[in-house]
Structures are given as C-alpha cells and as structure tokens.
C-alpha cells in the first residue's frame, strides 16, 4: 500500500463523527472606513512602509524620480519608470542580486492592512521583489479594496502561479523584540499612488 493510500485510510478510519457544516464567511464590509486611500496610507505607515507624497504641480513623477535619482541600479517591471535592463531578458533570478531599487505595479492594495498585492505577472521575475534593496510600488487608488475578504475574492489567486501581499518592508524583531527593517528582504517599501495608463492590463 502506498503511503498516500495508507495515510488516507488512516484518516478515514479516524474521522470525527457528527455534523460540522462549513460556515459561510461574511465580507465584514460594514465596518469600512469612509476614505479607503487615507486608511490604506495609515495602515501602510504602521507596517513600516511609506507613501510618496504627490507634488502639487507637475506630472506627479517628481517624488519617485527624486527617490531613484541616486540609485545604484534601478530595475523596473512597469512602463512608467525606465530601468537599467529588460526583465524579459532575465533567465536566472540571481542576476538581479545587485538591484538597488525595484519598481513594480501592484495588482491591488488592501486598506485594512496597508498591503499591496504583487503577482508573478506584476514582477516578471519573482525574486526582484526580494533581492532588491528597496522596493517602489505603483498603485492605482481605484485598485484599493477594503479588507482581506475582498482581496481574496480577486481573480489573481486563481490565475497566477505566485501572488504575495507585501505589507511594508522586510522586518524582524527576533533579537530582544527590537524592530529592524530590512531583515532579509527590502529595506524600504514606498508606494506611489498613480492610476494605470489606459490600455494597461488590470
């Protein structure tokens, strides 16, 4: 008998008796904040991330360009920002080891937790979001959903091989509870609220 069959047989012979129905899970939207963008920004800050403040005049790119001005190596997965090389050419994720700033566009944001959802489609190379020293995330404000219940209803979780919520930068408090940002992954995560260009995939 294979291990699979042995395990399943053992489970079947030990299943707890009695009716235990699977409950319907509510959406818990009735406690929604009035201003999703403001709530998202507050939650993002709490998780150690930051919102790039739009400049009053101009085309809105000034804060992100200022952030990237002194970067040692910019790698972008999104057309709004130009990077040093084309991610479509990358075969081995290890070749991204020297990236300083990675620029990506999120599939959505979550107001409850200040999270952004990144998929293998958004990242082109998954490791980009972890080997870079800093992460810049473009987010269309219209893509902010209220909470995780809403987020998990999205198609990315059924269509993409990899989908991840980033909620601020990499962090640890494993030594005496002292909070450290930039443990193994990115040292900073900055969100730039900018709508998708028309014609771009959702």
């Amino acid at each position: 008998m294979s291990s699979r069959d042995a395990i399943l047989a053992a489970i079947r012979s030990h299943l707890p008796k009695g009716e235990r129905p699977l409950p319907a899970v509510p959406t818990f939207e009735d406690h929604s904040p009035a201003d999703l963008i403001e709530a998202f920004g507050r939650a993002l800050k709490r998780m150690g991330g930051r919102m790039l403040q739009p400049d009053p005049g101009g085309d809105g790119t000034a804060p992100v360009k200022a952030l990237l001005a002194d970067s040692l190596l910019v790698c972008s997965a999104t057309p709004e920002i130009a990077g040093e090389f084309d991610l479509n050419d990358v075969v081995d994720p290890r070749s991204l080891a020297d990236v300083d700033h990675a620029v990506v566009r999120a599939s959505c944001g979550v107001a409850e937790t200040g999270s952004v959802l990144l998929t293998d489609g958004d990242l082109k190379v998954n490791a980009l979001a972890y080997l870079a020293q800093h992460l810049v995330v473009l987010l269309d404000p219209a893509d902010i959903v209220v909470n995780l219940h809403a987020a998990y209803g999205r198609p990315e979780f059924r269509e993409r091989a990899y989908a991840v919520f980033h909620s601020g930068p990499s962090a640890t408090a494993d030594i005496e509870g002292v909070l450290i940002l930039g443990a193994q992954g990115v040292r900073s995560l900055s969100v730039w609220l900018v709508p998708r260009k028309s014609g771009q995939p959702d």
Binding site: I7, L15, M47, A97, A129, G153, F157, A161, D174, A183
Partner: protein
C-alpha cells in the same frame, strides 16, 4: 543534543540558561529547567516582558476589530469541518496542485519525510538547502538526517539561524530566539559568522546575518518552506513571514520544496481571509505579516514539490478528547499569554512544541517522555481564551492528566497516596479523626496528598499558620451538635 553546561560569561554578563535535560525517553523534568531559567533573572525578566508585550498588542488588535469573536468562531468551525472531511480536502488539494504542475508526495512519518526530501535534493544535485521556518521540519529532525547525507541545511529566519548556529532548538514557534539576550546573540555570531564580539546592537547583528546569508541564498541548490495553510480549492500553499526569507528560498533556487502537515489544509480562498486576519494579530499584535505568499505552481523552468506529512496526525484525529488540537495554526498566542511559559522559557519543555499547545500534543509523540508536561500548568485557561481557533487547551491539559496517570506514574504524586486520600475523604468520621487528631491541619491535610510537599512549599513562601479550631469544631461548639 549534547548536554550543555552553563557558560561562564564575562563579568556582568549573565550566562544563558539552557533547556531541559534530555535523557532518552525518560520523562522531561520541566520544573527543573524552569528553576534554572528563573535563576537567570535578566533573561527571565526580558523573556516575560517581551512576551507579555506581544499579548498586550494582541489585545489592542482585538479591540480594534468588532468582529473578533465572530472570526474566532468562524476559524474554529472552518477547521473542525475540514478535519471532519480531511481525506476529501487533501485529495482535492492534491488534484488541484498536480493540475498546476506541482508534484505532491505523501510521508507517513518523520523518517519518510526526510528520505523524500533527501532524494529530491540528491536528484537535483543540491548540496545546500536554504529554508524558512518550519516547526514540522523540527519535529522530523530534518537537519540532522540531511547532515548525515552530506547536505548542508541553512536556516534563513533570523531567530532560527541564531538557534541553528548555537546548536539549540527554537524555543517559540514564532520568535525562536526570544529566550536570548542580545549579548547571547553577539556571542553566537562572533563565534560563527565572524561579527564583532563587543557589538551587541540588534541592528548590527541583523545586518551581519543578512550579509552572511545573502551569498548562501544565491548559491543554494534548493529552497524549502513550510506552509501556514494549504488551500484545497486552488491547490495553493500559503506562507507567512516578516523577513521575506520564505520568498527568497522559494524564488531563487530552481527547486522549491514545501513541507506541510496534513492538518494545514483549509477548503477555500475565502476561508483564508479569516485565518490570515487572525494569525499575526494573535502572534505579534500586528495586522498581518510583512509577507503573505501564495504559491500555486512552479516558476517557468523550476520545480515545486509539496510533501504532505502525517507523523501521528491521523492517529490524533481519532482521539475524541484531543483531535481539536489539530486546528492549531501555530500562532504562539498561547505561549505569549501563558504565565508559566513566560517564566520558564520554551526550552524547558524539552520538546519541539512548548507552552500550552505543546502540553497537549507532545504526549502524542512520546507519552512517557512528556508524561509530566501536563502538570506544568495551573489550568488557568488564558490560553484557551486567546486561541484564534478556540482550542480548549486548558481542558485538554486536564484530560491528559487523567490519561497519563493511568499508564505513567507521576514521580511527585504517588498513586498510593492519592488512593489513601480519596479513601479518607470518602468517610467523614475517618476524615474528622485525621484532621482534628493533632489539631494541626497543616501537617495532616497535605501529607496524605503529597509526599514531602510542604518542604517544597516553604522554599518560596511562608507557611500558612494553623488556626485554633476548624470550622467544624467552631460550628459544633457554637451552634451545638443538633442536626
């Protein structure tokens, strides 16, 4: 693990207390290890304060969510439903995962799990395995087995890596090195990764580990993660970390291996929201972990394997009083709130799983070795109240005592003494004679319950003073002997 003797630290630096003495399958003496932990007051105070802070932050998150108790009930109901149809959901998961290009393996026990992993690594020519935190792999003793095969396993979680470099088990499911002071970490890193022995600044130490780990991560042949959840509906593996180290392990080498206990499965993506919303809030008082990763299939040109592990879980499923312990989502909230755990340190339990949840699942791994653990509890019930999936932990601790005394005599309470006590307490005239014979209830009441107990009591407390007469004597004297 070898016997550790206390380190002699330099002047002014308190040596780190080591965990329970391991003597094969002889019962672990948690109380002895706790005593040594308490004898290191700086360590004990830091440990207790840090974990109490996590409990308080958890409470703050709870108060910010009007639906908190509803979520707990949902979590419990979803898990109980799933466990009652565990075979069905595992088969669904396997079918979906396979359709997504994931290879699914099944392991009956720890040895089989380790063998499967070893074979995969050897097939891929991987001599270094980087991994993120997985209590299951601790349970299976994976690192030791792979070391015998010449495969180097490198932990990437900071707390796990500290413990690995110190040849010590993790002491907490979420914060593995919480029992260590920064001075302990500085000492370990100086001896192993060449950091400055005089610099115990946590950011410096974390940066040292980041820099030491990066080249290993970039050159590893394979990466392994655990699984916080497996979603049957989509075949997804969900991993929650704060460092992002699981994503490094999974997304760089061409081979990603997932080790998952069969109880990690949940039915739908919609169910995931319930657990993800409670996991980090319960564990650390943070709304969510910095990274919540969902792996549904391999990257182009890479492989993804899932090893589903039983190792006693199907057996536990059949235990009427204890199967609900399988609902556990490994948040560690029970450890954070447990007043005994906070003052003892996780290593005092001498088991992979410590604290309240450890007390109720460890006896299923080795009843004799862990026969004393259910007594390392005051049955106060705080653990059950913080559990996000409503495991009645303290009631199961109580139930285990009944099970264990049938088979394993507890050394500090003699069955003969209990039988004698029970017999006396069942007969009023005999009882009265015993209590009032010397008019000193202090020595007669506890004696037939606990051998030499009063010597222990007096170590940390003053003795209660015996009264002049019992209530019974007072009543007879003042109200008369009439019925």
């Amino acid at each position: 693990m070898s016997e550790r003797t206390p380190d002699d630290g330099p002047e002014g630096i308190e040596a780190q207390p080591r965990g329970a003495r391991q003597r094969g399958s002889k019962p672990i003496d948690q109380a002895e290890a706790a005593r040594r932990f308490l004898a290191a007051p700086r360590h004990q105070q830091q440990h207790d304060a840090r974990l109490w802070t996590l409990r308080q932050r958890r409470d703050e998150q709870m108060w910010a969510m009007p639906e908190w108790e509803e979520l707990r009930q949902l979590g419990s109901d979803i898990k109980e439903h799933t466990l009652s149809r565990l075979d069905h959901y595992l088969e669904m998961f396997e079918a979906k995962a396979k359709a997504n290009g994931v290879v699914v393996h099944w392991a009956r026990d720890a040895a089989e799990h380790n063998k499967i992993v070893q074979q995969l690594l050897e097939q891929h020519g991987a001599t270094t395995l980087i991994k993120s935190k997985s209590m299951l792999t601790e349970e299976c003793g994976l690192r030791a087995d792979l070391a015998k095969a010449g495969i180097d396993v490198v932990e990437t979680d900071l707390g796990e890596r500290i413990q690995q470099l110190d040849d010590e088990d993790p002491s907490h499911v979420v914060v593995p090195a919480v029992h260590k002071l920064r001075t302990d970490v500085a000492k370990v890193f100086a001896a192993t990764i060449g950091s400055d022995p005089d610099n115990d600044d946590p950011p410096y130490l974390a940066e040292a580990q980041r820099n030491a780990a990066r080249p290993v991560i970039l050159s590893a042949g394979a990466g392994m993660t655990g699984a916080n959840f497996l979603v049957a509906e989509t075949g997804a593996v969900v991993v929650c970390t704060n460092e992002g180290n699981a994503d490094l392990c999974a997304n760089i080498p061409a081979l990603h291996i997932v080790s998952a206990g069969i109880e990690k499965i949940i039915p739908r993506m919609g169910d995931l929201a319930v657990f993800v919303r409670m996991l980090s809030r319960s564990a650390l008082g943070s709304p969510i972990t910095q990274y919540t990763s969902h792996f549904r299939g391999p990257r182009p040109g890479a492989e993804m394997h899932v090893v589903l592990v039983d190792n006693g879980r199907s057996e536990r499923l059949g235990m009427a009083e204890f199967w609900t312990s399988l609902k556990c989502i490994r948040c560690g909230a029970c450890m954070n709130t447990c007043p005994v755990y906070r003052r003892s340190g996780g290593l005092s339990y001498g088991a992979t799983y410590s604290g309240p949840i450890g007390l109720i699942i460890d006896p299923t791994f080795n009843a004799r070795k862990y026969s004393n653990l259910p007594y390392s509890s005051t049955l106060n019930g705080s653990c059950s109240n913080v559990c996000p999936v409503k495991i009645n932990i303290h009631e199961q601790i109580y139930a285990w005592r009944k099970v264990l005394v049938r088979e394993h005599e507890t050394p500090f309470v003699k069955r003969a003494a209990m039988r004698a006590a029970g017999a006396v307490l069942a007969r009023p005239t005999v009882y009265r004679a015993a209590i009032e014979k010397t008019n000193d209830a202090l020595t007669s009441l506890p004696r037939f319950v606990i051998y030499n107990g009063m010597n222990e009591w007096g170590k940390g407390r003053e003795m209660p003073r015996p009264p002049a007469e019992t209530f019974h004597q007072w009543f007879i004297r003042t109200r008369g002997d009439k019925p």
